[in-house]
């Protein structure tokens, strides 16, 4: 079966007064790390909740593993970590893990030894008979991972997995995600922190105000969305570089830090001309580099304040 593991087909969800997700389509291929990116309130959690069958879409369809029916019918094959996490505070650690596996459809006799293994692996072996509320916050986070991964799911869905994690657990989370991909699992995660997405994602989808802005492989997006970006470092005096930056025929936009500047070239402009002009202007350069834009930059271009103003103009 080579079809997408997760497929959303023109899915829409409305709440009283606003549309949280608006005609969203996306496809997550098998064995990738897929990032669902967007600012707060973009509809990431609502989309994930529809994938998990916690909410029903008003329109459109969710398909998992190429079959009809969303998360609940496949719960034994999916590991889900919601954004807001919680465990039963008064239950014993091992009992919580076994129970959460049981409701996913895993039998007690399978779940118990697996839970013990995982607790040992993450250094919580001695805590298995303690109550959850006796554990530190970091330990509870580990227990929560275990409950997501315990049943060895084919598809792992993580809603803001790094939010609130201490650095040690963030590292454990990152390693677990990479290990899962090595073993051929599919991971979908949402975040609004682009640096993380850039390091981890194979594929991604950026949404804002419930609509998809762009999706595809990270490399493709960078190439097509990037335009030409130039990073310039000055060695001492920037000379009359400001005048060069101000030429609209060459530079579309500049982000000037004084000793350092990021330029976006005007359409058709040649970077070599800029280099000549800068040298001629008396600037001493320590760095002159053509590069792809960061995901952060692409993201801001798509959903930042300028993009919002542009959309407002288009709607007016």
């Amino acid at each position: 079966m080579n079809g997408p593991v997760v497929a959303l087909d023109r899915v829409t969800k409305r709440f009283a007064g606003h549309t949280a997700v608006d005609g969203l389509s996306l496809a997550v291929p098998r064995g990738v790390i897929f990032g669902l990116l967007g600012p707060n309130g973009a509809g990431k959690t609502t989309s994930i909740r529809m994938i998990m069958d916690i909410l029903e879409p008003d329109e459109g369809e969710v398909r998992l593993f190429g079959e009809r029916g969303a998360g609940r019918d496949h719960s034994a094959r999916i590991g889900y970590l919601p954004e807001e996490r919680g465990l039963y505070p008064k239950m014993r650690v091992l009992d919580v893990l076994v129970f959460l596996a049981e409701v996913k459809g895993v039998s007690r006799s399978v779940a118990r030894p697996k839970a013990q293994d995982w607790l040992e692996r993450l250094g919580l072996g001695d805590w298995r008979l303690r109550r959850v509320n006796e554990l530190s916050k970091g330990m509870q986070q580990k227990v929560q991972f275990i409950s997501t991964m315990l049943h060895d799911p084919e598809l792992v869905i993580l809603d803001e997995p790094f939010s609130g994690l201490d650095p040690v657990n963030a590292q454990v989370m990152k390693d677990t995600v990479l290990d899962l991909r090595r073993r051929g699992k599919t991971i979908v995660f949402s975040t609004h922190i682009m640096e993380q997405a850039e390091k981890l994602c194979d594929e991604l989808c950026i949404i804002a105000r419930g609509k998809k802005l762009v999706d595809g492989a990270l490399g493709d997006i960078k190439r097509t969305r990037g335009g030409h970006h130039l990073v310039i470092g000055f060695d001492g005096s920037p000379g009359a570089a400001q005048q060069v930056f101000a030429e609209r025929g060459l530079v579309k936009r500049v982000d000037d830090y004084g000793q350092y500047a990021e330029l976006e070239l005007a359409p058709g402009a040649d970077a070599q001309i800029i280099l000549q002009r800068l040298v001629a202007s008396g600037a001493r350069l320590s760095r002159f580099e053509l590069m792809e834009p960061s995901l952060h930059k692409i993201f801001l271009d798509l959903v930042g304040p300028e993009a919002a103003r542009a959309e407002a103009r288009a709607n007016a």
Binding site: R49, Y80, Y88, K90, F99
Partner: protein, 423 residues
């Protein structure tokens, strides 16, 4: 189904493991025993014999007869007989105030004529003493009047033979040997137990829902189970705990009841034996147990569904406590009507209460315990209860489904109705 079973199992095991469960299990029979025994024991003994003075304002010797007659009575100790003079009542009041005396009885010549007498005491709410006093006064007044009319005193004595009315309940067409006190006791005990247990375990369901909501674990759960499955598992699990609790109580209660005779007998004077009979275990038939359990289960499911919805729309304990008020109120209606129901189990009010699903779980078992009802009386009530439970559960499940994922402000009635329509 296996998923529902996992929820049932968790609710049961976690609750039965808690200290709270065992405290309730062990103290429950003592608590119910105390509710029934203490008031009866107090009213029976009335705090023991009363020391009284008879203020004799009669000129015919009637006061002497009253004092003699009361001296024979175990409920009173006659501290003396006084002829009224200035300042007497004030000094008697001082004696009562200093607790050297419990009270004084004033009889005058008009007592015989009109029946008017006065009893001043620190406690005038002990029914036993008041009844004894008016009994003695009434009998003596009648005797005196008859004698004055020239009736032979021995004839008067014969005519005044006391009536000993024994009540025996007819159930079906068999006499059960059950007294009216016993059948009222049974009805009252059933009402208390139903009310307390439905409340305790309904609130348990509510706090369980609230716990899953406030810890946010509910999101993981509803990604694996349908909200209805979760609610069902929870209600069945908590229900199973309550049945288990009953079993412990039945065993514990049987032990306590078998000791009641001794417990009450200790303090009760010998003439109280008639009242003591009320403490023998009432005649509980298999049919009564079936009615009790059936209506308990119906009531439990009905109210648990409502409590689950209350938990789902609240985001903390305080909110839940407020939101549960209307549900508690519904349950109280039948509980507060126990006296009306048992005094007149056939009245329109009683029949109506036993037909309305919200009051039937308490009203029907109470009527059953005191009235002479057949299956034909029970079936319509049960049918309506089952129908009502299904409907209420359906509505509650829709509120539950939306509510458990909501945070922030509690929905108002209009929003609730929209949830029910669109969920």
């Amino acid at each position: 189904m296996r998923k529902v079973w996992a929820v049932v199992r968790r609710e049961f095991v976690e609750r039965v493991r808690s200290k709270w469960f065992w405290v309730t299990a062990l103290l429950g029979p003592l608590f119910f025993g105390a509710i029934v025994i203490i008031p009866l024991r107090l009213s029976m003994s009335g705090g023991g014999a009363k020391r009284v003075v008879v203020v004799d304002g009669t000129t015919t010797g009637f006061g002497v007869r009253v004092a003699d007659s009361l001296a024979q009575n175990r409920a009173f100790i006659i501290a003396g007989r006084a002829v009224p003079h200035a300042g007497l009542l004030d000094s008697l009041r001082e004696e009562v105030g200093a607790k050297r005396l419990d009270g004084f009885l004033i009889v005058t010549d008009t007592t015989v004529e009109t029946g008017a007498a006065e009893y001043h005491a620190s406690n005038v709410s002990s029914f036993r003493h008041i009844e004894e006093l008016s009994g003695v006064l009434g009998r003596l007044a009648v005797t005196t009047r008859l004698e004055r009319a020239g009736v032979n005193p021995s004839l008067v004595n014969r005519a005044q033979l006391r009536i000993d009315l024994r009540t025996r309940k007819i159930s079906g067409s068999k006499t059960t040997g059950e007294t009216s006190a016993q059948s009222f006791g049974l009805a009252y005990a059933m009402a208390i137990i139903l009310f307390v247990v439905i409340t305790i375990y309904g609130v348990n369901v509510m706090s369980s829902v609230l716990e899953e909501k406030t810890t946010r674990i509910v999101e993981v759960l509803v990604s694996s189970l349908r909200p209805f499955q979760l609610m069902l598992g929870k209600v069945v699990g908590v229900g199973a705990v309550s049945i288990f609790q009953f079993l412990i109580w039945v065993v514990g209660g049987a032990v306590v009841l078998s000791q009641v005779g001794t417990l009450v007998g200790d303090l009760a004077p010998p003439e109280a034996t008639a009242q003591q009979a009320a403490f023998q275990l009432p005649n509980i038939t298999a049919a009564t147990i079936v009615v009790f359990l059936t209506f308990f289960l119906g009531g439990f499911f009905l109210y648990s569904a409502m409590f689950a919805a209350v938990g789902a729309i609240s985001s903390n304990e305080q909110e839940a406590r407020q939101a549960q008020q209307p549900v508690m109120f519904l349950l109280m209606i039948a509980y507060l009507s126990v006296f009306a129901l048992s005094n007149n189990p056939g009245s329109t009010y009683a029949v109506a209460l036993s037909l309305i699903p919200f009051t039937a779980p308490i009203a029907m078992p109470v009527r059953w315990a005191v009235g002479n009802l057949t299956a034909l009386d029970v079936i319509p009530s049960l049918a309506l209860l089952v129908g009502g439970t299904v409907l209420v559960t359906w509505v509650a499940a829709r509120i539950y489904r939306v509510g458990i994922l909501m945070t922030g402000k509690r929905p108002n009635l209009k929003e609730l109705l929209r949830w029910i329509r669109t969920a």
